[in-house]
């Protein structure tokens, strides 16, 4: 089959690889009908995530039709012919974390958990196509994929919604939603979202659904800010203005009630000296992540507010504003998305028309043109917001 493979830093190729096979009894094989490139794939391509091997298949946002199930799949769960969306975190459903609906902290799904435990203190779940730190599972930017523990990791789509309407249930829609959900939004809240990429856009939509009165989008790409403005959100361009001052101005000096970091470790900063400081530290590995968005969110948030982090961090940061966080009673909430917790309610919201996930799609390409898709998305060419690939 054809698959999008990581072949080195800044290098992605579509290669011919063997078809997947059942490795565990509760596996299923899915013939992929739609898949997408995620912002976090760029962290891999940019070389910020260790333990990548040349030839790794990328992609953790995919859906398709079940064509084979393992002998351990019990009747009434997943069947050949089912149309399914696959959540990116592999969850076992049986460990204490899964029972607490903390699916991305699954204690059993990562064969390389011993290594992720070294970095993170405790193991984290397996993820498709996302380095060997998260298990070394083949990704879904391909014609077929193996779904692990398929009876807990495949959402069956029974309505006639299109692929584009449900594909993002695999990651970015629940991730954006969890960013807003962790904010405990109350009626009338002002919610600021750092990053107007796909996850940021969905965090904004979710904040509004959850009752926010004003939603503020922070980015530097005008086309992304325009996309947010078209939904009625207020925009702040951090290249033109000081973010904290702008937020104070917009909130009568209080600061946003809730702040969402939908940027993560590869943030850029409007002020070149700050940008240079963190880039230099990152280059010499004195810190691994550039936390501009997180710092700004903590400094800007109203006292007693919530800073919710769904942008990806992988290692260490410098200059964490612990004083602001502690003295102003801020709550910091985080996590890789517990997709399985949010998929069903969000599917309901899509069916009811409360959220339209298709609004962020700017590019549709065949799988064979995945490298072009990466180039458009990474370099923000042609006003690229989200690339959907079809095998």
């Amino acid at each position: 089959m054809k698959a999008t493979c990581w072949t080195g830093r800044n290098s992605v190729e579509v290669q011919d690889v063997p078809d997947p096979s059942i490795l565990n009894s509760r596996d299923a094989i899915v013939k992929i009908t739609s898949t997408a490139i995620c912002g976090s794939d760029l962290h891999l391509v940019d070389g910020y995530v260790p333990t990548m091997e040349k030839g790794d298949i990328l992609g953790h946002e995919f859906m398709g039709e079940v064509v084979e199930v393992g002998p351990g799949i019990s009747d009434g769960t997943v069947r050949v012919g089912d149309r399914v969306v696959v959540p990116f975190p592999i969850a076992c459903g049986a460990c204490a974390s899964c029972r607490a609906e903390l699916y991305s902290c699954c204690e059993n799904s990562n064969p390389n958990a011993g290594i992720s435990e070294k970095m993170f203190g405790h193991p984290t779940c397996g993820i498709y196509g996302y380095s060997h730190l998260t298990g070394g599972f083949a990704g879904g930017q391909a014609e077929y994929a193996r779904v692990v523990l398929a009876d807990t990791n495949a959402l069956k789509i029974e309505s006639d919604l299109t692929d584009e309407q449900v594909l993002f249930l695999s990651d970015i829609l629940p991730t954006g939603y969890m960013g807003a959900d962790m904010c405990d939004i109350e009626q009338g809240d002002v919610v600021a979202v750092w990053g107007a990429g796909p996850v940021g856009q969905f965090a904004m939509d979710s904040a509004r659904v959850l009752g926010a009165e004003k939603v503020i989008a922070i980015d530097k790409e005008t086309y992304r800010l325009d996309m947010a403005a078209a939904q009625g959100y207020t925009t702040v361009n951090f290249e033109d203005t000081d973010v904290r001052s702008a937020l104070l101005e917009l909130t009568g000096g209080r600061g946003p009630d809730k702040c969402i970091d939908a940027v993560g470790l590869e943030a850029t900063h409007g002020a070149s000296h700050v940008e240079f400081y963190d880039r230099a530290k990152q280059a010499v590995r004195s810190e691994t992540d550039r936390p501009h968005a997180l710092r700004q969110a903590i400094m800007s948030c109203r006292s007693g507010g919530v800073v919710s982090v769904v942008g990806v961090y992988g290692g260490m940061i410098d200059k964490f504003p612990a004083g602001a966080w502690m003295n102003r009673s801020l709550t910091l909430r985080t996590g890789q998305c517990h997709v399985q917790r949010y998929m069903r309610p969000l599917l309901g919201m899509i069916e009811q028309g409360k959220i339209d996930p298709t609004r962020i799609i700017t590019h549709r390409l065949p799988l064979t043109e995945a490298p072009t898709g990466y180039d458009l998305f990474k370099n923000k060419k042609d006003h690229c917001e989200k690339v959907v690939l079809t095998p």
Partner: protein
């Protein structure tokens, strides 16, 4: 490091040890009985100091012979090594102050003692049993009752499913079993084990018996976790590692970090207990061998041949 201090019966039948014992006796008798003649034969002269030195050496040889033939123990072999070094020192002095008469014989004697020294060092090193006790502990919590977790562990033949280094366990009797494991540097070690304690739902303990390649013992305890969260399992293992600290350091250098291994083993026990099998990925298709597989297979489907090997 602990050296084995018991007199080891197997040295009684060791041809090298017995040979060295008789060599000591054959040297010691003429040295004590006719020291002047012996010294002359070596070409070192027969002045009183030469004679008394030769007698002293002879007494030492007879003591070594008695020990090696009567109560063989590595300490006598090391004694011979010490004696050899003394002899070499004496011969070196003799060579340095030589008057020329019989120089050839002294040189020949020095060469012979050097060869004997090499033999003695070899015998002493190989006949000394050295080991480092190593204790490992690890803990995990599984969402199963203590009885379920105990029952799973009690099925000894299933241990190799999740313990990376175990190749096979065969139950040979109600309390006995035979174990086969991979050791560092591609070696295989085997031992018989007996269950020393067995309290259903709480504790299983075992130890190796007989002439095990690596003496070892261990226990697994099962206790209810607070708040009804399942069962806390604490495992401790004790190994007598061959090769002393050097062996331990070498094993570590080659990536055989025992603590990590036990942690990983328990993580896989948890997988078996909670989801029924060890999770495999394309990068770590061998399941329990995941850590040893770095750099791993790329995260892409395996070819048929690779698949056969991984699932073997």
């Amino acid at each position: 490091m602990t050296a084995d201090t018991r007199s080891t019966p197997r040295l009684h039948d060791d041809p090298l040890v017995r040979g060295l014992g008789w060599a000591s006796a054959l040297l010691g008798v003429p040295q004590v009985a006719a020291p002047a003649g012996f010294a002359r034969a070596l070409g070192v002269g027969d002045a009183p100091r030469h004679r008394s030195a030769t007698t002293a050496v002879g007494v030492r040889e007879l003591a070594a012979a008695t020990g090696l033939l009567g109560r063989p123990h590595p300490v006598w072999l090391w004694g011979r090594v010490g004696g050899d070094l003394m002899d070499l020192t004496l011969l070196a002095r003799a060579l340095k102050n030589h008057n020329g008469r019989g120089l050839g014989r002294t040189v020949a004697a020095t060469a012979a003692v050097t060869a004997i020294t090499a033999t003695d060092v070899y015998a002493a090193v190989t006949r000394t049993r050295r080991s480092t006790p190593m204790e490992l502990t690890a803990a995990t919590t599984v969402t199963r009752s203590p009885e379920e977790a105990y029952t799973l562990w009690k099925d000894l033949e299933r241990l190799p499913d999740f313990m990376a280094h175990l190749d096979e366990v065969h139950v040979t009797g109600p309390r006995t079993s035979h174990w086969q494991a991979s050791a560092p540097f591609g070696r295989t070690v085997e031992w018989d084990a007996e269950t020393t304690q067995d309290v259903p739902g709480q504790l299983i303990a075992w130890r190796s018996v007989g002439d095990a390649d690596i003496d070892n013992s261990g226990e697994a305890r099962f206790e209810p976790a607070p708040g009804g969260q399942g069962t806390e399992i604490r495992v401790s293992l004790r190994y007598e590692l061959p090769g002393g600290p050097l062996g331990k350091a070498a094993a570590r250098y080659f990536g055989e970090e025992p603590h990590q291994q036990l942690d990983d083993d328990l993580r896989r026990f948890k997988q078996v207990a909670e989801i029924g099998e060890v999770v495999r990925s394309e990068g770590a298709p061998g399941g329990k061998r995941a850590r040893g597989e770095f750099p791993q297979h790329p995260a892409r489907p395996l070819t048929e041949d690779e698949l056969k090997e991984a699932l073997a």
